[in-house]
C-alpha cells in the first residue's frame, strides 16, 4: 500500500506527520512511503534523511495526495484537498469531528476511511497511539518555558550574598496530561507549584510530582469513563473562581489547561483575577484555541494588561517541532502496525475493535462512529 505524507499547510504548523525513522519501520512492514518535498524541514528532518529511510520524495502535492492509499497528516485537510483523495483510501489526522461536520460529510461521501486522532480512546492499550497525550505532554513543557522566558524574575530560589531570591510561584489549573507535565517542569526549575483540577483523583497525581493540590470544595464533580472531566455547573464554576482568586493573585505564573472534551473550554480566570496579579506576572492559556480559560487571552498573541502578560499560543507542540513530530509519527506508526496484516498486506479495519470503534469516523461511505452519529441525531 502506498502511504502519502503531504507537507502541513496550516500557519504555524511546523510538525510533520511522519519522520524518517518511522518511514524506515513502515517500509520494513512492506508499505511504501511517499513524502512531499521538504515536508520535514521545519522539524529538522531533511529530504536526504527521508530518502535514506526509503521514502520517495514527491514534488507535486496534488499527485501525491491522489496516489495515496493511506494519507498521513497532522492537521485536518481542507475541503478542496478532500476531493483529491482516492475513494477507499484511509486518511489519518486530527479532524475535530465534533465541530467539523461538513468535513466529515465530505470524507464520508468520498468513501474515505477517516481516522480522527483525537478520538483514540484513553485506554492503557491505546496509549501508544494517543496523539492527544503525546502532544499535550510536550505542550505542558513548552508552556513553562514560555512563561519562564516572559517572567522578569528567575524561577528557582537562591540564597546568595546579594540577598535571597524567593522561588517563583506557579499555579497550574487543570492537571491532565499537559498540566502534569507543566507541574513537573516547573518543579524541576525549582518553583513552588500549586495545582487545581475538578477531578478529585488528580490530587494524588499532583502530589506524586511534589506539588501541592489546592482543595476547593465544588460539591459533586467527576470524570467520564474515558477519564475526561465532566462539565461544571455554573454555580460550581463560580465557586471555583472564588477559591482561586487568592492563589492567582499570589502567583508569578499561572498556567491553564482546563478542557472538557468536545465542548468549549471553561472560562476560569476572569479579568479581575488577572488584574489582581502582580505586574510582571505571566499567564499561559493552553485552551485559547477552544475558547480560552482566561478572559482576554487571544490565540497566537501575547496580550499585556496591567503589567501581566497573557500568552495564548494555539499550537504549543509545534514549538518543539522535532520532538513533537517524532512522537506524532510514532503514534501513527503504532496505529498502523497494530492493524497491519503482514500476510495480506492490508490494514484490517475491524470496526469491532475497541480502539477503531472509537477513532474511525467514516468507513465505506457511512459514518460509523457512534458518538458522531448521535451528534447528528440531536
Amino acid at each position: 500500500m502506498q502511504i502519502a505524507v503531504p507537507t502541513e499547510k496550516w500557519a504555524n504548523e511546523r510538525r510533520v506527520a511522519l519522520i524518517p525513522d518511522s518511514v524506515k519501520k513502515l517500509t520494513r512492514l512492506g508499505l511504501s512511503v511517499q513524502v512531499q518535498n521538504n515536508c520535514g524541514l521545519e522539524s529538522g528532518y531533511s529530504n536526504e534523511q527521508y530518502a535514506e529511510a526509503g521514502a520517495t520524495i514527491v514534488d507535486d502535492r496534488e499527485k501525491l495526495i491522489r496516489s495515496g492509499d493511506i494519507i498521513l497528516r497532522v492537521r485536518k485537510p481542507d475541503a478542496e484537498e478532500v476531493t483529491l483523495v482516492k475513494s477507499g483510501a484511509i486518511h489519518i489526522s486530527y479532524l475535530d469531528p465534533y465541530n467539523e461536520s461538513q468535513l466529515v460529510d465530505a470524507l464520508t461521501e468520498k468513501g474515505i476511511s477517516a481516522i480522527s486522532m483525537e478520538m483514540i480512546p484513553r485506554t492503557t492499550r491505546a496509549q501508544k497511539m494517543d496523539a492527544l497525550s503525546s502532544q499535550a505532554n510536550l505542550a505542558g513543557y513548552v508552556m513553562v518555558m514560555l512563561a519562564a522566558q516572559k517572567l522578569d524574575r528567575i524561577i528557582p530560589m537562591m540564597m546568595t550574598p546579594a540577598g535571597t531570591l524567593s522561588p517563583a510561584r506557579v499555579f497550574v489549573i487543570g492537571a491532565g496530561v499537559a498540566g502534569l507535565q507543566a507541574i513537573a517542569t516547573a518543579k524541576r526549575l525549582g518553583a513552588r507549584v500549586e495545582a487545581f483540577d475538578t477531578r478529585p483523583v488528580v490530587a494524588e497525581q499532583v502530589e506524586s510530582l511534589g506539588a501541592k493540590f489546592v482543595e476547593i470544595d465544588l460539591g459533586e464533580t467527576g470524570q467520564t469513563k474515558d477519564g475526561y472531566a465532566k462539565e461544571l455547573t455554573s454555580e460550581q464554576l463560580a465557586l471555583q473562581r472564588e477559591g482561586m482568586k487568592q492563589i492567582i493573585s499570589g502567583s508569578d505564573i499561572v498556567i491553564t489547561t482546563a478542557q472538557v472534551f468536545g465542548r468549549p473550554a471553561p472560562r476560569i480566570v476572569t479579568a479581575d483575577m488577572v488584574g489582581a496579579m502582580k505586574p510582571g506576572g505571566v499567564i499561559v492559556d493552553m485552551a485559547v484555541e477552544s475558547g480560552g480559560n482566561v478572559e482576554g487571552s487571544q490565540p497566537d498573541k501575547t496580550v499585556v494588561t496591567g503589567g501581566v502578560s497573557l500568552i495564548g499560543i494555539s499550537n504549543l507542540p509545534s514549538i518543539v517541532s522535532q520532538d513533537a513530530s517524532q512522537m506524532y509519527s510514532a503514534n501513527l506508526y503504532n496505529l498502523l502496525s497494530e492493524y497491519w496484516n503482514e500476510d495480506t498486506k492490508t490494514l484490517e479495519m475491524d470496526l469491532e475493535d475497541d480502539i477503531l470503534k472509537s477513532c474511525v469516523i467514516s468507513h465505506e461511505g457511512r459514518i460509523v462512529n457512534e458518538t458522531i452519529k448521535n451528534l447528528r441525531k440531536t
Binding site: 485506554t123 492503557t124 492499550r125 496509549q127 501508544k128 497525550s133 503525546s134 505532554n137 505542558g140 496530561v177 502534569l180 507535565q181 513537573a184 518543579k187 524541576r188 494524588e204 497525581q205 502530589e207 506524586s208 510530582l209 511534589g210 497494530e338
Partner: protein, 453 residues
Amino acid sequence: MSIGLIANLSYILSAILFVFGLKMLGSPATARRGNLLSSMGMLIAIVAGLTSKGIVDYQTIAAGIFVGAIIGSLAARLVAMTAMPEMVALFNGSGGAASLLVGWATLYTGDISTFTAVTVLLAILIGGITFTGSLVAYGKLSENINSAALVFTGQRIVNSLILIGILVSGYLFSVEPSPNSQWLFVMVGLALLLGVMAVIPIGGADMPVVISLLNSYSGIAACAAGFAIENNILIVAGSLVGASGIILTNIMCKAMNRSLANVLFSGFGAVKQGKAIEGEVKPVSVEDAYYLFEAASNVCFIPGYGMAVAQAQHVVKELGEILEKNGAEVSFAIHPVAGRMPGHMNVLLAEADVPYEQLVEMDDINPRIENVDIAVVIGANDVVNPSAREDEDSPIYGMPIINVDKARTVFVLKRSMASGFSGVDNPLFFGENTRMLFGDAKESIAGVISEFN
C-alpha cells in the same frame, strides 16, 4: 592448685576464645583474626585435655594426632579453591565420626548410669548422622554421586522404620547398657543409615545448607559426648557450634528464599507441594528481602506510579548505589506508560539523579530479563501485568509489558493487593517466584537499606 583445676580454668579460657572467635568470624574485617583466636582456644583446650587424670598412654594419642594432622593439613592445603565446600563436608564428617567414637568408647571406661547411656546414645546417633550425611553431601558436591534429588517410592516408609528401629534399640540398650550390647551395634548401623537417607533426597544445589545443618549437628554431637564424659568444654564449644550453626543455616535458607523445611523435605514431597503453592500470595519481610538483595548480582528496578506516590525515588536510587557497591549490576527499566503522564518516571529518577546510563527501555530489558536475579517492581502494576500477554479477554491484552515474571525472583512493593489504573487483576502477584513486600514503597526500601549496615 590441682592440675585438674588448672585444666578446667584453661577450658574457661578456651571457651572465651571460642566465643570471641565465632563473633569475629561474622564480620569481614575481623573474620581472619577470629579464626586465629578460635584456633588458639582449641590449642589450649587440647593441651588442657592432655593433662586429664586418666591418661597414661600418650603414644597412641600422639600417633592419632600425627596421622590426623597430616591428613587434615594435606587435605586443606591441596584442595582446589572451588572444592572448598566439599572439603568442609568431609572435615565435618570426621568431626561427627569422632563424636560417635568418643561416645562409644566411653562405654568402656567403667560403670554406666542410665543418664550416661542416654547421652552416649545421643552422641552416637547424632555423630553417626553427621558422619554419613556429610559423606553423602561430599559425594553430591563433588559429583561422585548423582547430585540430583534422589527420590524413590516407599522412601517414607523406610525412613519411618529406621526411626522406629532407633527408638527401640535405644530403649533396649539404655535399659541394660553395656559396650557389648547388640543393640549398640544396631544403633550405630541405623544412625549411619539415617544420615545417608536424610541427605540422599536433597538436590545438589541445596548442599551448602545441608552442610551447615550437619555442622550444627556435629556441634550437638560433641555436646552430647561432653555430657557422656562430663566435660565442660565439649558442652560449651559443642552447644556454641550447635546453636550458631542453626542460626547460620537459617540465614543461608533465607538468602535462598527457602524455608529450612522446604530445603530438607522438598525432595520427599516435591510433586505434592508444587501445586499447593500456585495461586498463593507469598509476602516477604524486609529482612528476608535483604538477604536476597545481598546475594543478588543483577537487580532491575521497575518503577511505576506507586513510586511517585510514595516519593520513593531517592531511596530507590540509594538502594541502587548500595547494591552496586555490593557488586551487583543495577538497572532501571522504564515502561513507556508507567506513571500518570508521559515521562513521569524520568522526571522522578532525574530528580534523584539516577544516571541516564542505568535507564533501560522495555524492549532492551525484556530479552535479557531471564538473567535478572531480582526484579524489583516498585508500585507498578499494569505495566508488569502478564495478563496483557496471556489473557486474551483482558482489557489490556496486547499491551507490551515488562516481563518481570520471567526474572529469577520478583519483589513487588505495594501497599495492598489492589489493582492499578486499569483496574485489572494481576496474576503476577501469585507467581511462583514472586514475593510481595507490602507497605509504602519508600518505607519498604528504607527498611532494606537499613538492613545493609
